[in-house]
């Protein structure tokens, strides 16, 4: 039994940490987020050169062949740097789905993800669907060698920059059926695709994407027709672990920043870190962070070994990331006092990213309900 990273994983983690330290200070991050597409294209190319974009892909497609532990190592460091580049949207979500597609689709697209030339997105959310992946009104009707796609997807991560997106659409069944959902790989420049762009509080630029009689070749089907739900679920599970790793990185960074601040900030003639009331609060956030780390390790280990407790571990983790993330974030602002309220300081920006991670793929309450149903 060991909780250590391999030498290769340590090198990967170090390379992300070094990049964040040398090239990604908070001012840089702010500028990158302000770009029209919400990130810096030159930095994306750097990611490609450093090999990070290849991590989850098979070696036959030029990938690194990494698993959940490798992704965790990278995401934790990206979290500490509050990196806005769409690693999750393009590599883990879009790329993760493509990994389950035909070899023709993989060969045509994965090398382009790896070399940084292809941006992708996963368009699954609809106005009414909240956290239910199976609530799909968007329809795809087969006509000869094509599907005709109609409907609207909302809050598509990286939807502005995406050259292609994987769209969940109903090919049969009722609105909330798990069966009958198919996944289609769609070119965002295709006729009938239109986008409305907007920003989220964590710096992401997202889009609502409408599909008006968009014709998609039948061979662009990802997975089998009607079997998209299980496929989405599996990828969303993997990505949830990645997001939780990012959250852990953020929580660690917030705690470290807060401890440092209380040691330097003086009131009543002393450093405020000397007050027991504040010390105990910082111990609480430290424990919250350590407990989250433990559940993350638990979920990563059960994902790597595909153990039967996998789903339960993941739900527990998502609940804890939501709750403990809120504790750590709120305390960081409170202990920074008035400074914590400023846009100038990075603290609030880390907190807003934690809040969006909580919401993504189901918040703490939602995940807890699923946990309750699972153990009942």
């Amino acid at each position: 039994m060991n909780f250590n990273f391999s030498e290769e994983q340590n090198m990967l983690k170090d390379s992300v940490a070094r990049f964040v330290q040398d090239e990604y200070d908070f001012e840089t991050r702010r500028k990158n987020a302000a770009e029209a597409q919400g990130f810096n294209k030159a930095h994306w190319q750097t990611f490609a050169e450093l090999g990070w974009l290849s991590i989850p892909f098979a070696e036959e497609h030029g990938g690194f062949g990494g698993g959940a532990t490798d992704v965790m190592a990278v995401m934790e460091e990206l979290g500490k740097g509050l990196v806005v580049e769409p690693f999750v949207a393009t590599v883990l979500l879009f790329g993760g789905l493509l990994k389950k597609s035909s070899s023709a689709i993989q060969e045509a697209n994965i090398p382009n993800i790896i070399d940084g030339s292809l941006q992708g997105a996963f368009a699954y959310l609809e106005r009414q669907s909240r956290y239910e992946l199976n609530d799909v009104k968007t329809s795809a009707v087969r006509e000869g060698d094509e599907y005709v796609l109609n409907g609207e997807k909302t809050v598509v991560f990286n939807g502005v920059a995406a050259d292609k997106c994987v769209v969940s659409a109903r090919t049969s069944g009722e609105q909330n059926d798990e069966a009958g959902i198919s996944l289609l790989l769609v070119d965002t420049s295709a006729e009938g695709v239109s986008r409305t762009n907007y920003r989220l509080m964590d710096g992401q630029v997202v889009a609502n994407i409408s599909f008006d009689n968009v014709r998609v070749a039948a061979d662009q089907l990802v997975g089998d027709e009607g079997a998209g739900f299980a496929l989405m679920q599996s990828v969303v599970s993997d990505v949830t672990i990645a997001l939780c790793s990012e959250a852990l990185g953020i929580m660690q960074k917030l705690n470290a920043t807060t401890i440092e601040y209380t040691k330097t900030r003086k009131q009543f003639g002393v450093a405020i870190s000397s007050f027991q009331a504040l010390q105990h609060r910082m111990v609480d956030t430290f424990m919250a962070c350590e407990q989250t780390k433990s559940l993350l390790y638990r979920a990563v280990c059960s994902a790597e070994s595909d153990s039967e407790g996998r789903e339960k571990d993941l739900l527990a983790l998502k609940v804890m990331v939501g709750r403990n993330g809120k504790l750590v974030g709120d305390e960081a602002i409170q202990l920074h006092g008035g400074m914590g309220m400023t846009d100038e300081l990075d603290v609030g920006h880390y907190v807003k990213r934690l809040m969006m991670i909580n919401t993504t793929f189901g918040d703490a309450d939602y995940s807890q309900q699923k946990f309750n149903a699972l153990v009942r």
Binding site: F3, I259, V283, Q291, S294, R298, S305
Partner: protein, 392 residues
Amino acid sequence: MDLSFSAEDLAFRDEVKGFLTEAWTPELAKLFRNLDTYKEGQIAWQNRLNEKGWIAPGWPEEHGGVQWSATQHFIYESERSAVGAPNVVPFGLKMVAPVIYGFGTEEQKQRFLPRILNSEDWWCQGYSEPGAGSDLAALQTKAEIDGDDYIVNGAKVWTTYAQLADWIFCLVRTDSSGKRQDGITFLLIDMKTPGITVNPIHSIDNQHTLNEVLFDNVRVPQANRIGEQDKGWTYAKSLLAHERTSIAGVPESKRKLRELRELLEGEVSGGQSLADDVLFQNRLSNVEIELMALEYTELRVLASTESGQGPGVESSLLKIKGTEIQQSLQQLYMDAAGYYCGVLPGDLSEDDIGHGFADSARRSYMYGRAATIYGGSNEVQKNITAKYVLGL
């Protein structure tokens, strides 16, 4: 990262399961339910473990211990708690023994360790005093040299099972001139020595486990001193870190949670099982999720111990979270029992009253308040963590 069990680990698990199935009998379990037969049951159980060679994991093999890997510890504790078999009494086996084999003389090792292994000596812990609780270094019980002996005067308090104990390990003051921590000595004292009085303290759980132990000119041979005079604090500190790790009680809490889920099925309110009550479900999962995390926090500590780093100050975290979880579970048992949580059964049997779990729920709840107080209160643990982990 690799938490998978090796073939050896799986074989060990089968061996543990096999042993527990055979050794943890209903007759034995019955002895544990009542304080009058508790000690008999505990000794019988420990003797069973001793025969198997599993009484003292972590002790050096030369003294009769067994060296388990962190994974084996985890497997044993998981399986033990799954069947509800009790822990060993920690005072001798887990608390004083490591101090004796770590810092004691050869003669002390020969004299005390075999009797601890064989459960011939029952130990209790003499740390807290009326004026020294979480601030242990404030202790005043005095030991003065008189020839080959010390003469001990003072009072210890909250001494668990002193009424059953043959020996007590004590921290006593031998010097008041310097830093408070510097004048403390670690003594082993025979409870039959003239001048010792044990007074019961009846606690809010209506039980008698706690005591006050008074020392009135008690003569203790210098040969019963551990290590050097005035250095007892160092020896005791190494033991406290261990105490904090073991009182996390993860395996026990796992079993209690599982049993609670089972009994909630049978508790009906408004025609609906409490197991279907959304509020109950949320409270249960709040505890379970913290517990799932703590189980891995403990594994992380075990793994770092195994790699030679020892259970450090992070053990405070295990103590705080572990005891919070225990108390949350105790509260849930009480709430599940409804009115029956208040019934003092007297001579009534569980069948007379129904709700067989209510009496033990109440006792666990009331006694369970102690968990956040003993071993250094949770607030003191937070002070320790703030200072030594966070550097505040």
